[in-house]
Every structure is written in C-alpha cells, then in structure tokens.
C-alpha cells in the first residue's frame, strides 16, 4: 500500500459563523485524476483552495507526500509557516483558476518563464526553451509573444495551464477551469487537460463538466453542504448513486446536458 500523494484529514473551514467545510477526509493517489462535483455552495472550491492554503483551514490537516502543508514541527510545538516557507510548498501544487489570472502586463512567454526564473532560479534562455516546449503542448506556441488581453478565454486558460506546469508541480489543482469560457471554447481547454491526464499528471479538478468527469476521472467525489456525500469510480457513481442527494444532483445536471 503506497502512501497517497495528497491526503486530507478532518478538514474544516468556517468564514465567521458560516461553516463551509464540515469535516473532509480525502486521499489522492499519484497519477490519478480526481474530479469533485456538487451543487454551487457545496464547498468544492473552498476545499481546493484549502489544499494549497490559499484559504487557511480552520481545523484539520492537508498532507502532501506525507508532509503537512502550511505548518511545521519545531520540537514538540507546531508552528504556522511564514508566507515564504509556504511559497516553497505551494510550488509543488500548480493551480489553474476560473478567471485565468494571467499577468496582463507580461506576454504569454513571460508569464510562463517568470516563476522558473524567480523561484527555480534557472537561466532565462533555459526557461524560454522549456516554456516554448510547454506552450507547444497546450497549442499556444504561436501566441507566445501576445499579451493576455489579446487572447480568447480558451487561449488564456491554456497559457495559464502552461504557466503552472513550468514549475514542474507534483499535482495540479483546477478550480472550475472552464466555467468562465464561452461554450465553444470549453472543448480546447478540456482537450489539454485530457492530454495532461494521459501523460500521468496527478490532478484534482473541481468542475461542472460531467462528461469530462465521466471519461477522464479515476475517482469521482460528490460534495454537498460542506461534506463528501459519496465517492468512487465515476462509472459506478454516475450510474448507481446510493444517496438521494447524489441522485437528485445527477438527475438535474445530466438532464440539462
């Protein structure tokens, strides 16, 4: 039995009196694609943002490679990590946002080379060679010298995926990566993600794309009301859901497709 790449234990998150996550346990195996689905407000995105501590969990721990994220032992005392210590852990987890969040004042190529040069401290030339390779993979090599506002949403999102990959992460987090896109642009982003999954990247994907979840996910998680209601192989979960809430959600989303 190998240690999972990512492990979440008893994770809770509240914003004031509002409990968004109410005890989450989850394991992500190396090389697996885990899709998290569920109705709006179920806490999917908050869970994803707790994994790399963009939100600090109220309680509970996230382990990456068996090492706790955001906290560290010093003797018998547990300390919060400083921002810059946390930054070192965060580079192991790439993240793709719903709103892309590319740096608008830099070209696509500069967006991709920025972190390798600053954080991995490799030479600009080497970073550019690597970046062009990644942009080739996501089909954006021809747009390397464009600025983000010059690009369509789908192109921006593919560039953002390349930017995350440039840090050679162990794991990629996708926070509703196609939700801000025009319908005709969703396909190109999903195709890149499919390719990434085929190449063996470990991925955690919060999504509303049930087709993608069915075809690509190794593990499907259904969340509602801040807890995991049900999880398992997508084929099982989609065809034989056990819980009423899963059934209700699936009948809603699958009928609209």
């Amino acid at each position: 039995m190998t240690e999972p790449l990512l492990k979440v234990e008893q994770l809770r998150k509240s914003f004031g009196a509002h409990d968004v996550l109410r005890g989450i346990d989850l394991a992500v195996k190396r090389g697996d694609v885990t899709c998290i689905v569920g109705p709006s407000g179920s806490g999917k995105s908050t869970l994803l943002r707790c994994l790399n501590h963009l939100e600090t969990p109220t309680k509970g721990v996230v382990f990456l490679n068996g090492v706790p994220v955001g906290v560290r032992w010093k003797g018998n005392r547990l300390y919060q990590m400083s921002f810059n210590e946390l930054a070192r852990q965060r580079q192991r987890m790439g993240m793709v946002f719903q709103a892309f969040n590319l740096f608008p004042h830099k070209t696509v190529l500069e967006n991709v080379t920025e972190a390798p040069i600053l954080v991995r401290r490799i030479k600009r030339k080497a970073a550019e060679v690597e970046a062009m390779d990644l942009l080739e993979r996501v089909g954006m090599a021809e747009r390397a010298n464009y600025y983000p506002p010059q690009l369509s949403g789908g192109q921006q999102q593919r560039a953002a995926i390349a930017r995350s990959l440039a840090m050679k992460p162990d794991l990629m987090l996708f926070d509703e990566p196609t939700s801000a896109l025009d319908p005709e642009l969703v396909g190109e982003v999903l195709a890149v993600m499919r390719q990434l999954a085929d190449d063996g990247m470990t991925m955690v994907v919060v999504t509303h794309e049930m087709g993608f979840a069915r075809d690509v996910a190794d593990h499907l998680v259904f969340m509602d009301g801040g807890v995991i209601i049900e999880e398992g192989a997508p084929a099982d979960l989609l065809t034989h859901p056990h819980h009423e809430r899963t059934k209700a959600f699936l009948s809603r989303v699958l009928n609209t497709v």
């Binding site: 580079q91 946002f97 709103a99 969040n101 600053l118």
Partner: protein
C-alpha cells in the same frame, strides 16, 4: 401631389448643410473683444515695462532661482513618492501597528498646510535645540545642533515632501487595491515570495494606474514650491522678489516669474500627456489585436442567412 421646384437637385446627390451655430458666433465675438482688451493692456500699458521683463528674463539671478525651483520640485517628489510607497504598503499590511502608523502619518501631514509645516520645521530649534540618536530615556549615541541641521532648504524639502507623501500614499494604495486579488493568488501558487509578488506582479500594474495622478501632483508641486519664499530660500519667486525689493520694478519681475512658471507647467503638462498617451497606446495595441479578432466574427454573423 406637390411637385418639387425644377432647380432643386436630387436628394441623393447633395449633402445636407450643417445647422448654423449662431451662439458660437455671438459668444466668439464677445470673447474676441475681451481678448483684444487684454492684449491692449499688455501692449499699451507702460507699467508692464516689457523692456525690464526682457532684461531680467534670462538674468543669472532669475535662472538660478529657476534651478532651485526645479530642484525642490524633483527632490520633494522623489522623496514624497518613496515615503508614499512605504506608507501605502504599511497601510495594506496585516499588522495593526503598521496600519495605524501609516494612518497617523497621512492624517497629520495631509491636515497641515505645507506653509505652516515649513515655518514649523524651520523653527524646530525652538522646540528641540539638540537632535540626538539614542535610546529614548536612555543613553545618547550622537547628537547635533538643530540649527546646523535645519537650513531653509531642508525645512522646505521636509514640508513639501511630507505633504506629498501623504497624498501619494493614498493614490498608490488605491492603485495597489485596483490590481485584482487573483494576481496575488496566481503568484502565490507559483511559489513567488511576498517581495517578488509585490515587485514583479503588483507594483508594475499599480504604478501604471497611478502615473496620470502623479503627473498632476508634479505640476501642483512645482507651484507649491513658491511657498519657500517665506523661508528666504532663493527659488524663482523669491529671486524675483529680491530684485524688485532693490529696484521697485514689482510688476515686470512678477511677470518674469509668471512667464517661467507657465513655461515649466506647460513642459510638464506636455510630458504628462506624452506619457499618458504612451500608456494608452500600449493598452490599445494590446486591445487592437483582440478587436481584429472579433471583427470577422461580427461581419460573418451579419452575412449568415438565418
């Protein structure tokens, strides 16, 4: 059916004439008269003493005053902006101590007229005869005579720069806040440190936003420097005053100062326009491609049959 007169051309061949703008003509006539009156005063009134103006416009004393005005403007702006950036970052820090300090500084220096400040700084020796570095209530490491440290020049720079820092801090803070939090989050997930995020991602975008108001502030600063004449610091205005105190040619020397202030503000305005234009052009260059992107689709949909 009414027939159109024979000489009337076809409506398809002529352009309609514009509506006559009668009020533009009436208003223009009144303003022209006023302008002519103004020119008459300039030209015919002997009290203007244009000969004296011409004599002093490029005199060494006036030009050195001009240099002082420029130096005060540049130094006060540079120092003010540097302090302003630090204040803005402190204001946005999560530390209450930094937030409160920054708030207090801004409250204090935005609330006091720069003229009052300059006089106060200049008379600091009355409050603190000695300035020392050391531990409060403890031993002193070094100390200086206040009257040696505070010259008219340093008092002027402090008054102008501290006032500017309070205004700049608020502008820069607004600029930083205008950059979306998604930018900080994206930088964080890439493993950038806090300093790298600020320097490489946030400030470049924030400064682009605040360049136009900073340009405006520079023009204001140029004019505010004339306040230093109360400290007998020979800037442009005080140099002119020193001349007319000797020669009693008050009006022509004030005209000399006025001409130079107008020249400097014009140059600064042109620089500001050029800079703004360049920023806008850069922005539009990045949008132009997007537009040509949408255009074929736009026309295409118009040609479709459905």
């Amino acid at each position: 059916m009414k027939q159109p007169p024979l000489l009337q051309p076809s409506i398809h061949e002529v352009r309609p004439l514009p509506v006559p703008k009668i009020w533009h003509w009436i208003g223009g006539a009144i303003l022209t008269l006023l302008a002519m009156g103004f020119v008459q005063v300039l030209v015919t009134n002997d009290n203007m003493q244009w000969g004296v103006v011409a004599k002093y416009l490029f005199s060494a004393q006036i030009l050195s005053g001009l240099g002082m005005t420029l130096m005060l403007t540049v130094l006060a702006m540079v120092l003010g902006l540097a302090i302003g950036i630090i204040l803005a970052i402190m204001r946005l820090s999560s530390s209450r101590v930094f937030q409160t300090t920054s708030w207090g500084w801004i409250w204090f220096f935005r609330g006091i007229p720069p003229l009052v400040q300059m006089i106060f700084w200049y008379n600091l020796a009355l409050l603190l005869p000695q300035i020392s570095i050391g531990i409060p209530f403890g031993p002193k490491l070094a100390s200086w005579d206040t009257n040696l440290l505070i010259t008219p020049f340093s008092a002027a720079i402090m008054g102008l720069a501290f006032t500017e820092s309070a205004y700049a801090a608020e502008m820069i803070r607004a600029g930083i806040q205008a950059v979306s939090s998604g930018q900080t989050e994206a930088a964080a997930t890439l493993g950038l440190t806090r300093g790298q995020t600020l320097r490489r991602v946030i400030l470049p975008q924030a400064l682009r936003i605040v360049i136009p108001p900073i340009g405006n502030d520079t023009i204001s600063m140029l004019k505010f420097t004339s306040l230093v004449s109360v400290l007998a610091l020979p800037d442009l205005l005080y140099s002119a005053q020193m001349v007319y105190a000797r020669t009693y040619q008050t009006v022509p020397l004030l005209i000399v100062a006025t001409i130079w202030y107008l020249v400097l503000t014009t140059v600064l305005t042109l620089l500001e326009h050029a800079l703004e234009h360049r920023l806008k052009a850069e922005h539009q260059k990045s949008l132009a491609k997007t537009r040509s992107w949408f255009r074929p689709r736009f026309f295409g949909s118009g040609q479709r049959a459905y």
